[in-house]
Amino acid sequence: MSAADTQTRPEVVQPRLGPVGWLRWTWRQLTSMRTALFLLLLLAIGAIPGSTFPQRSINPARTTAWITDHPTAGPLLDRLGFFEVYASPWFAAIYLLLFVSLIGCVLPRTKILWHQVRAAPPRAPRRLDRLAASREVTVDGAAAEVRERLHAALKKRRYRVHAHDDESLSAEKGYLREAGNLVFHVALIGVLIGVAWGHLLGWKGDVIVPVGKTFANTLSRYDTFSPGPWVDVNALDPFTIKVDRLDATFETKAKSPGQFGAPRDFEAFTTFTDAEGHSEPRSIRVNGPLETGAGSVFLLGNGYAPVITVRDAAGTVLYSDATPFLAQDNNYTSVGAVKVPGASPQQLGFAGFFLPTGQIDDAGPHSVFPDALDPQLALTAFEGDLFPSGRPQSVYSLDTAGMKPVPGKDGAAQLRILLRPGQTYELPGGRGSITFDKVERFAGLSIREDPGKGLTLAAALLMLAGLVCSLVIRRRRVFVRVRPGPEPGRTVVSVGGLAKDDDEGMPDEIEAVLSTLEGTR
């Protein structure tokens, strides 16, 4: 409408929407197919940043490093939730709107299908030749008899058949198409509920257990523990797992750079003792978790825990333990720390590398093969206050803020110690000694419970079944009209077919229905 029109006809006013009207309009928009399509595409786009940027929930260290490396973009993207995409409000907004849209779409369709299933197929149109597919033939036999045979033929082809009058038949089949489609959509909600359930009531914890040690399933024993909001962390099932042995196999045959030394198999042999005290040997492998019934135990990591003993000048043992060192690369160049708070006059700390197959050159100490072929321990020593701030700190690294390096015997500023199994190093100035007794491996266990996984899986499989039904089954309506033919004893039969969406098979279907009259034409 042009401006001139509005001036000449000022009495035309737009209808106004009240609050209810606006609500209804919003609901209609939200539940329309177009909006759902838009939201679907938005969901796909919204998921992508989670793969291009490091995610805090997956790799916090990489995330922090990325933000530090990009001082401008980092904090900004952080505020926008790009490092926690799948927990971000905007991602949640997309999928929640999508699910609202989905419910708004599914409910009315369920109602319609319900009525359709209960009601008889609609009355046959007067002119069947106007339908997408139709045929008319003249056959022998009375109209009633011909109609009866077509009725039986349609029944045999699993149509629901209803006769609204004496000269027509209405038949319909393929309700499972729509039903499957609805099941697919409802099952998607089931998947969402399953995921949410697992998030609220599930928990996971990680712990490093050296060979020979026992892990008891209580909160305090975990290195890290992340419970869902509704988890009672004090009600963990009190089972124990003793790691008896850990086998690790690495590639030695294939010599190409990407292959040599690649991991081949890990298996932890454990003694599992359940809450009632029954013990039995159980093995945990990658792809073969230990199911305890109250949490599943996964072998997600492994490494070396050299057994280190620190004595004072008098020979009294101040520290003796299998000390896990964390692998930094594929050849298990590992870092760790030994903290000896009982040393005097000052507390002692050692930090450095464990190398399963050690080599020390220009590149610094590093390992050249992941198996323990030539284990070496390269340490530096510090003395002073181990816990200056009083804050909790990592057991794998030394906080040297309150410490100073122990000087070397030759006058070097920093004492460097290199030990092989069985060797002992006398610390200078009567500080005692440090012994590398032997090498043990450790198992990195992750214990997880997800009460929602069964529901999620069932819903996902239901979704797949519904999807297949809705894509494979065809919704078809077939109408039949019979009328007496031009000669006595003949009947004109017209059959018309109507499919929900374009359906190339409809003429064949009509042909198949008519074939029952074969021989009477």
Binding site: L41, G50, S51, R135, V286, F298
Partner: protein, 332 residues
């Protein structure tokens, strides 16, 4: 026979397959090129037929259908001998190439003593095998002559095999611990099959969009496209192929989640590979959704499907190589 000579035989089979498929591609191209004059002739034929005065038809409605098929038969018969020869050669060579790729996969499996889907090279070759098998199976089973599709199936297969043998080639080796599972055979095989069928769907989608443009043009340019099914049929075929591939992809994601739970402790970790599998699923779901949405053009829906295929390529060629995640493979 030693593993080493098996490896050589497997590679030889793949190289031979590539040579044979290149010839098949040429023959298929010749076939389509030779069809052009045939189309013109067929058009003339149809025009002549239309000039036949009505009345010879006896009035039975049933004849309409048989007339249509007679038309199609006439069209096929109108293919010049040279085109038919080229089609035959192309088809035979495609079958031979398929057998060679199958041999390459089987020899590789014998060589590595495991399911041959442990790295990108094996994945690519397995995928090529599935594309070829799906195409050959379709041609054999279909009542229609689908050999016009050959060129558009062989080209992506050749590209893929070329990349596989040059960029992604990895010596046979054992698997990493996390890949040692029966789910490797289930999850990755179905993923490969699904991607193979999506590949055919992609080719059909592209052909549909071209055909649609050509049909909309005021003066239709002379090309082999005139001999292919019309845009409507191509769009239907595109859809038909996608509704086979989509549930397979859904299964792939579910099976992957089950395996992820076994191997990594959690069925969904938003690992980059998982993210992109999810994106692919959502995009193809959007395609099916768009096709069912009234008021949405079929062309736009097919564009969404093409974007979906772009995501598949991304997921395989980029995510595997450049993104940090848990879906790492032995070697590459």
């Amino acid at each position: 026979m030693t593993d080493q000579s098996l490896a050589q035989l497997s590679n030889l089979a793949i190289y031979s397959a590539m040579a044979v498929l290149t010839l098949a591609m040429l023959a298929d191209a010749v076939y389509l090129a030779r069809l052009v004059p045939a189309r013109e002739a067929a058009r003339e034929g149809v025009r002549d037929r239309e000039l036949v005065p009505a009345g010879t038809v006896d009035g039975d409605v049933g004849d309409a259908a048989s007339e249509g098929s007679a038309d199609a038969a006439a069209g096929r018969a109108a293919e010049p001998l040279a085109a038919r020869k080229a089609a035959g050669i192309g088809w035979t060579l495609t079958l031979l190439g398929t057998m060679l790729v199958v041999a390459g996969v089987v020899l590789r499996a014998l060589e590595v003593h495991r399911w041959p889907l442990g790295n990108m090279y094996e994945f690519a070759v397995f995928g090529a095998m599935f594309v070829l098998l799906a195409y050959c199976g379709w041609v054999i089973r279909s009542e229609r002559d689908l050999r016009w599709l050959g060129l558009f199936v062989v080209i992506p297969v050749l590209l893929n095999l070329g990349l596989a043998i040059t960029v992604w080639y990895t010596d046979a080796s054992e698997l990493m611990p996390s890949l040692r599972s029966v789910w490797l055979a289930i999850h990755v095989t179905v993923a490969t099959l699904s991607v193979a069928i999506f590949t055919i769907g992609f080719s059909l989608g592209v052909m549909y969009l071209i055909q649609d443009r050509l049909e909309a043009a005021p003066e239709r340019p002379r090309s082999f496209m005139g001999r292919l099914p019309d845009a409507r049929s191509l769009e239907r075929l595109t859809y038909a192929v996608h509704i086979v591939a989509f549930p397979l992809w859904t299964f792939t994601v579910i099976a992957g989640a089950i395996w992820a739970r076994q191997a990594w402790g959690s069925y969904w970790n938003w690992d980059p590979k998982e993210v992109w599998s999810f994106v692919i699923w959502v995009v193809y779901a959007a395609y099916l959704h768009a096709r069912a949405t009234t008021g949405w053009k079929r062309q736009n829906a097919v564009w969404i499907a093409l974007v979906g295929y772009g995501c598949i390529i991304m997921n395989f060629a980029v995510v595997n190589v450049f993104f940090v995640g848990q879906h790492s493979y032995s070697g590459l």
